[in-house]
Subunit: 268 residues, 2 copies
Amino acid sequence: MLNTETTAAFRPLPSGTATHAAWTAQPAEPRDAAPAPRTASRIAETLRTLQDVVPITRRVVHVGDTIYHSGEQFRSLHVINSGFFKTINLAADGREQVVGLHFKGDWLGFDGIAGGQYGCDAVAMDTGEVWIIRYDALIAACAKHPPLLGMLHTAMSLEMTRDRNSLLSLCTLSADARVADFLRYWAESLAQRGLRTDQITLRMTRAEIGNYLGMTLETVSRALSKLSRDKLIAFNQKGRREVQIPDVRALCAYIQRSLAPAGSAVLQ
Amino acid sequence: MLNTETTAAFRPLPSGTATHAAWTAQPAEPRDAAPAPRTASRIAETLRTLQDVVPITRRVVHVGDTIYHSGEQFRSLHVINSGFFKTINLAADGREQVVGLHFKGDWLGFDGIAGGQYGCDAVAMDTGEVWIIRYDALIAACAKHPPLLGMLHTAMSLEMTRDRNSLLSLCTLSADARVADFLRYWAESLAQRGLRTDQITLRMTRAEIGNYLGMTLETVSRALSKLSRDKLIAFNQKGRREVQIPDVRALCAYIQRSLAPAGSAVLQ
DNA sequence: CGCAAAGTTGAGCGTCCTCAAGCAGCGTGG
DNA sequence: CCACGCTGCTTGAGGACGCTCAACTTTGCG
């Protein structure tokens, strides 16, 4: 297990305080009591508004297509209408890091605003459609239609929250728990968009998952096998990319359990 | 060492390709040839503009002061006029994670826009001054003074780039290299703001640094001792919080070296 | 059918965590 | 004044988690 404290005050809680919040604890969006419908309607409203008030270029993409490259001149933001995408941060020394996973309604390309060029590669992991929106046109449209600006800022704000939650998982969870949290996050993302979560199809290789989670593909494979043995997930016969999650809350409980392996919760 | 690949194509470069980019490679802002003056002037211009076109409440803070708490209702963004701050992500289960370090000119509170409440605690690590800017007033001011909107978006964009670079370091660097990269980042941040970098004062305990970097305080301490033994940094006698970095580029080279420990660079 | 890519599993080992002891700086109080 | 406690830092010993290397199986495609 990794560290969970910064100062003495942060030391693992004496278990009593931690456990009552056990299954409720989820890094993402703790504030939102009913995230699914709210997120779904937010996304729908954003897409509707965009169609109405700003010029859009639609682009259909297939697995492996790159929407934009790191270093390419920034002109447009991209909104996912359907499909599933990853963003990859490329360091000058050749390191590659998957830094984000993106679903319907997510915006892509914010990191290009500051420097005038994109900072990541955005790659499609499935067939889908993105809406290309020129940044200057978007800003102009925001001036005429103020709610759109709010939507833009909300999207950027959510992006940061997600990044921070990634950091939290990365720094505080064991490898097994990180994989579990990854599945939980994926299921949650689907749920928020009104999609099925009992049966999800991972559109990433073990190596990609491992890169995203900061571990090797072998460790990912072992963690998935362990979760399967523990009946927290199940694989579809034929194809280890399909994962069933019978009970997301059990998955959350597993993550919590791995945080405090020492304490028998009842004692003191 | 952690993994650096996602697929076979990502496997550690055969050393020849990696080494020629050795000392130039820095995760942050590879695009900007001369970041220091550009960043400094950008910050100065932003602060000037803010003073001119939007109502500001100034607040002087001291070590340990919290600007806002996670969960608190969001109304204002905060811009650092002086001082140094950290943001802490609090999970429902008690985990605490330092997710960001912030210097003069940085904005704080973006993560509150989406949900109507802040997602982190922002804590002062030194005496300083923040400018409190009501979000609604800021948006109104942006309507009248469009460049301000650009500055806002630039700040948000930079924030995301920084978060991604943190992810990259966390996932691809060893503990020693992560500490070195932390010092490099700190020095770079000071340099961009026109401050001295040969002698920097860490305003964090080993435990805080460790939390931020995803390791224990002991590991931080050992890494610093090692860097000191290797003459890449030096401690001021009296006080292990003051660090001298005689040569930042040597520090970068050290980080690069730890990426490809296998290859004698000349071969092949 | 054969080959390549993806995935699983095992054995061995290294990095980093855990636990522990000791030291240094510092404010408090006897 | 020094004892005392407290916090922060360093260093060591031992162990665990996860990486490395390797062999093998399964899946998919030409």
